[in-house]
Symmetry: C2
């Protein structure tokens, strides 16, 4: 779900936690989260970058996982888990296997949390509006309004897919045939990504070759280094024999916005690096698909992301109390008590040895509780992305007219991204995401709009990229996560500290408390960490 | 099918044709092939690379396509087409639509030519051996021994898929989680591609930043340029605030050959650029997936590449004479005559106004004919890749143990490439290509081996990358294209000249005569060019 640059976010996260590190409990939690206790990697230069320096192998800091815990450790113990999203269902599934008696309280009438796949007839109830999905009835016409992609190394989520038999297919995150667009650049004309990427590589390679050939880097490079690097740069940038970048077939050919392979011959005139390195361009994700969690290969479940949530749900459904609105979370002598209104609105109480709270912080903040001041303060201050997605049904003009098969077009308008479907290629119709907004200001603007205004605004902005949006994009539907009841946010963006530790017998979990904020894999990692804390409590560790 | 670097091959191709250009007929053929008649783009520096220079828009040089030709132009005319591969079937389909009466002579008992998908029970008969495919019976256990991927802009092939209802799915060509391997580099340990790619970008960005910060490029760059480019380079290489590359999460984390996302914390120590730019590394395709025909998004037909050939076949099957071995290709007064042995071995003769020869040059060279000396010489000298593929059935250790979902691992052993299946993820078994060889020397070595020796050699070399090949890769099967009857080669690699023009009423076509050698799209483009020549003959143009 998250599209921020993971590299810097992770580094900031690590650095901030490093600075705050206190007792061994925190160090243990960090190690369990997969965060190294050595802070040397946190963004600053180190000896490892000096030529010739060798680094010792990094210590292995696996986070906990199923198999780490003794069989039957939970026998006779009870846990109440708040929230039947991926975190809560992972906890219920794994803790049941350890012998714990689990009860899941879920405020909504179905499980999955922010894993939301919309199909014909589905209803989206925000706090102040209601929409019904008007797509045609067709199993390939669905809209993942929440998480939509899986990184290849998200191995726990992928492991559950294997265990559950959820069919996976490739997800094209980085399509060089998709476009980059800014009203203020290139005369407002969308540019095919391949051209700007090829010209950037060419420009970088030509400049560095010039410097090397002018002996400007002789302090750093031997003659052998220079020869090897120059040879590599010719390949890297597709330079000519004189180390000049003069365009490349990698960037495509003229007219290729609307034509395919037959359109060869003249190369596109190369754009100068100076022209390309405007803030617009490199902020529009020159390196987006380099990110560890955004690199190819990526995956999606065939038929919609909620196939995974449904598979989880089917395995823990007997332990879920649906439409249970929690009103109080209390500490008792040696345990916990949760008060909730059941589906008839009748107050009910459940007591358990442990309570695991997986409710997103913005929704949790309003529930009466006995939390410590530190925990409560962190909950109240926890920041979330204001993610908004808007989708339409449309004939597949992007494939038929522009040879775009999946992937993402970027624009620096509020709508930020246009997503093309990665499945059902060449069907008559597809679901196209006309806006995926995750930036705070733009997200706020779209969150504040009524659904019909969001759809109009999306159509208008997207039409600046693809004019076909004006007439061909129909059946618009939107989700503004800040207005979704019981969730009230996209994903956590604050750095967690207090919530990484238990508050007496109350434990906290969720994607926002993981090293992978905004990802389902993060939800699972966080569930494992909370399970580990409970198990170690029972083991007296 | 082709994995050579298209960039340079195209440029060489264009340049060579440019040098050889003679009369207007050749210029017309070149334009029709989509080759610009201006040679200014052919690899050398031009004014376009001087800062501030503007290039005029390149002339549009569309190759011919259906719709260019008058309806019914072929009424009353007959064509005999030799070979029912993609070229021949495209020609038959489109010329029938124009009113031509077409007959396809096909030497084999099924159509599709080098489009070969092997499944349980299929038999591969090379000139001196016979193999039977022993895979388990399962629709997801297939081996594309010929073409295996489709570029997003191969719009004619994709158009036929749309017309025929062939279901397409994404093909992951560039998987950053796949590996690079050389026995002579990094102690023979395979490296995850993401790490070497991230370190290369980081090293390039750091070096260029150093040069810029030392004012070494002040002649080329203004202060504004320098500031913009430095900012871009930090993003491009993930440099720290001092423009030092000190590793990046983009490269992954220690132990990630066998662990997934939980394994975070310490960064991998960065490798120095000097260490990376050995011939091994950059020859092993630092820029492979930048190629115009190799970039994401790519596609494959669900269920096997031959789904496309089968769909073509079903539309022209009534015009195909199977098991027809051509023995003579003759010119007649105002027409052509082809002599062939039919499936009973009985000689037969067919006369037609036109003959279109789509047989691969190595197979064509042995057939008696009336070709001009120039045509015959070019046929006899036409070079083809010596492509070999070897595949196995195996449990999906690459997914379960290494989080590799599709894509290609490179090694500088003879086997060259290992391909992981892009479909059927997490099934118990998959078909893994243990060798895809296209280099002449290695291809020759494997072509010369008996099938069992190829399989043993592949297993031994692949086990240097994945030891699991030793015990888990079973049911090996291979195809050496130089030994496949009626084909005798992978794809054409010579530069065509004489064969681009008709020889009286005999016309030549095939991927080898296209701007996209080795690709099905090239076969289609070539068919269109030959149709255009015939149509223009009939129009008296």
């Amino acid at each position: 779900m998250s599209d921020k640059q993971p590299a810097m976010a992770r580094r900031d996260f690590l650095a901030a936690i490093g600075k705050a590190v206190g007792g061994s409990a925190m160090l243990r939690a960090m190690a369990a989260m997969g965060i190294g206790t050595s802070i040397s990697a946190c963004g600053s230069s180190s000896a490892a970058s000096a030529p010739g320096a060798t680094s010792p192998p990094a210590p292995r800091v696996d986070s906990p996982r199923p198999g780490d815990w003794p069989a039957n450790v939970g026998a006779g113990k009870t846990v109440v888990i708040l929230g039947a999203g991926i975190t809560g269902m992972t906890a219920a599934l794994e803790m049941t296997r350890l012998g714990y008696a689990c009860t899941l309280l879920e405020a909504r009438s179905s499980a999955g949390g922010r894993v939301l796949t919309l199909r014909a007839g589905d209803v989206v109830n925000e706090t102040d509006s209601s929409q019904t999905c008007q797509f045609d009835i067709d199993e390939e016409l669905y809209f993942n309004a929440g998480p939509s992609r899986i990184a290849q190394h998200h191995e726990f989520l992928l492991g559950y897919c294997r265990e559950f038999g959820v069919k996976l297919e490739p997800f094209t995150n980085d399509n060089r045939g998709a476009w980059l667009h800014s009203p203020g650049a290139f005369g407002g004309q969308p540019q095919i990504a391949r051209q700007l990427l090829a010209d950037t590589r060419g420009g970088i390679a030509e400049l560095l070759s010039t410097a090397i050939n002018q002996d400007a880097l002789d302090q750093a490079l031997t003659e052998t280094d220079k020869a090897n690097i120059l040879a590599m740069l010719r390949q890297f940038g597709d330079l000519d024999i004189n180390y000049i970048y003069d365009g490349t077939p990698r960037g495509g050919f003229p007219g290729q916005g609307n034509a395919g392979s037959r359109q060869r011959g003249e190369l596109l005139p190369p754009r100068q690096l100076q022209e390309l390195v405007t803030e617009f361009f490199w902020e529009l994700r020159l390196s987006f698909s380099q990110g560890f969690d955004q690199q190819p290969a990526m995956l999606q479940p065939a038929g919609g992301m909620d196939r995974i949530a449904r598979a989880f749900e089917s395995r823990v459904v007997d332990d879920i109390v649906f439409e249970a609105t929690v009103t109080e979370i209390r500490k008792t002598s040696g345990g916990t008590r949760v008060v909730f209104n059941d589906l008839s609105g009748t107050p009910a109480t459940i007591e358990a040895d442990y309570c695991m709270v997986t409710v997103p912080a913005p929704a949790l903040a309003g529930i009466d509780n006995d939390f410590s001041a530190a925990h409560q303060a962190e909950i109240e201050g926890f920041q979330y992305s204001s993610a908004v997605r808007v989708a339409f049904q449309a004939p597949r003009f992007w494939e038929q007219e522009h040879n775009i098969y999946g992937g993402i077009t970027w624009t620096d308008q509020d709508i930020t991204q246009i997503w093309y479907p990665n499945h059902g290629f060449q069907n008559p119709n597809g679901i196209i995401v006309g806006a995926y907004i995750f930036d705070g200001a733009a997200g706020g603007r779209f969150t504040d709009m009524a659904p019909v205004a969001r759809i109009d605004a999306t159509r208008a902005q997207a039409a600046n990229v693809h004019p076909q949006f004006r007439d061909q994009a129909t059946h618009g539907i939107s989700v503004a996560w800040n207005k979704m009841p019981f969730q009230r946010g996209g994903w956590g963006t604050s750095i967690p500290l207090a919530l990484l530790s238990a508050d007496d017998n109350i434990f906290f979990a969720g994607e926002h408390l993981s090293i992978l904020q905004g990802w389902q894999e993060g939800a699972i990692l966080s569930a494992y960490l909370a399970i580990d804390q409970i198990v170690n409590r029972d083991l007296g560790a």
